[in-house]
Amino acid sequence: MKRIEILNFKSPNRAPLIVEGFLFGEESKGPSLAIVGAMSGDHINQLYVASHLVEYLRQKEEEGKISGKILVIPAVNTYALNMGQTFWPLDKTDINMMFPGYAQGETTQRIAAKLFESLQGYDYGVILEGRRDQGMCLPYVKIIKSDYEDMESARDLGMRFIHYRPYSPIETVMLQYNWQLWGTKALSVVFGKNGVIDHNASSEVQGALVRLMSKRGILDLPVFDGFQSNIIQPENITILKASYAGIFDSLLPCGSAIEKGDILGRITDALSGKKLEKIIAPVGGVLTCQYSYPLIFQNSIAFRIASVE
């Protein structure tokens, strides 16, 4: 294992921002994979999975099991992680909205440029992503239709769901899109709830990453097969919104199989305690995603259900 400095960025008064990478194996021996962890300060679960993976790979390297090259960057925005913030602490910009970066540009564009440079030339790329809302979800693969996407490596993760959809304008400045355009088979694994560690989701994601490495000949280890992934397109998802604002109680965990008519959650008035709403499943399927903060806004998305057509 080599511990390398991806970037070292001075601050006016704080100790420098140092982004570190952990490098395993050698390129000449097989395919290469880069994994990027927390780009936001609230993606703590992503940091957790990435750092666990570093320790796991260190052991596997000692055992002589690494047959390709692997780079793991557990955290990019350590400045935000160290102060409980989400974005770049000075100007609140999101590093994952700055790709491909610009070496002569603004601070976070320069950070993105330097990071992106270190990610070039890898055969496969995995971005460990948290949520961009107050939700939590079953771990899933997010892959956008850029015309450069690679579904085979997405399937090799063996995760239950692959969310496959067109990209939105803001995604053109995110890492996945740009990494794909620059020739790496990049995808995102989205999981957990921001700010906390979900141990089940973490071990599922780590298992999926090990499976990908094994199936792609980067790790010389036998693994169990995962799921035969279901490809979910936007039309397979039913969105259930809260008709009222108030206190939100979810009655079922993500991953539950549900029938039409099941009660999924309740909303009560935050002041009077009056029962305002029962949120009822209009279709059967799997509960993939839910709101995860005790106070809910009117019309917020409370649940997402994935259904088979």
Partner: protein, 314 residues
Amino acid sequence: MSMGVIEEVFSIDLPVGEQFRIQRCRYIPKSGETLKRISIVSGIHGDELEGQYVCFLLGEWLRANSEKIKATIDIYPAINSLGIDSITRSVPFYDVDLNRIFPGSKNDFLPAQIADGVVNAMKGSEIAIDIHSSNIFLREIPQVRIAKSQAKTLVPLANKLNIDFVWIHDAVTVLESTFAHAMNTLGTKTLVVEMGVGMRLGKAYGHQLLDGILNLMAEEGFLDIAPLDVRMPIQSEIGEVAYLNASCPGLFVPAIEHCQMIQKGDIVGQIVDPLSGVTLDEVIAPIGGILFTLRAYPIVYEGSLVGRIFGENG
């Protein structure tokens, strides 16, 4: 004197005994509401307050001159109302930049629903003027920014606004998520004004833009007044914009005032180290021209924008 009518155009319950709301003040001709309509908008970013003052000045003028109103005039001073009242640029709680989520959707999270509510309220307006300050970091001269693809339609309109600079930029996909792009796509000619600095207001700029809005409304048939004598903005097409980014972290101390004509080689400011007392770097103008952007917030990292200069070709 006649008052505009204050209406709530979007309301959504917050969890604990409050609503997120967007209000507008609507002024109509004595003869009644018209289909012809203009929307004046500010506060999409909660830390940008220059537009609030312009909205006040315009409302004050319309109350005193109601007989001059020929078409419907809507004023929306505070789109991100929660943000404005709490010094929060993004949509609070969600931490999402509202101006990167347009046109929004009813089936998505709160920021997207707000965007959708804004679009629905303003849809059908002939013209919209979206007033931004800069952020808290930069001070800007009054300017309108226009995507190249919209230049033919929007530049003639921008020239009526009594601003100093019209900046035509290349189309960038990410900007398709802005209010202006969404409204222009729907056929509302939408101008984005940037002026001043975040979290502050500059009275002079407010009055300058008020004159521009009155002039535009006179020329476009919203007000029955003679057009005002307005300044012709510098057009970015005739020159180039130079960006001045900090070469190192430190405290940026400007050496000159904002909005000055400067020569190539002039010192724009110093980056100094308060700990050692050492001047780390001098920011030098790479071209001559007008310093139309100057950093207002002194702490800089490597790469922080400290200024922009527009220089004419030749």
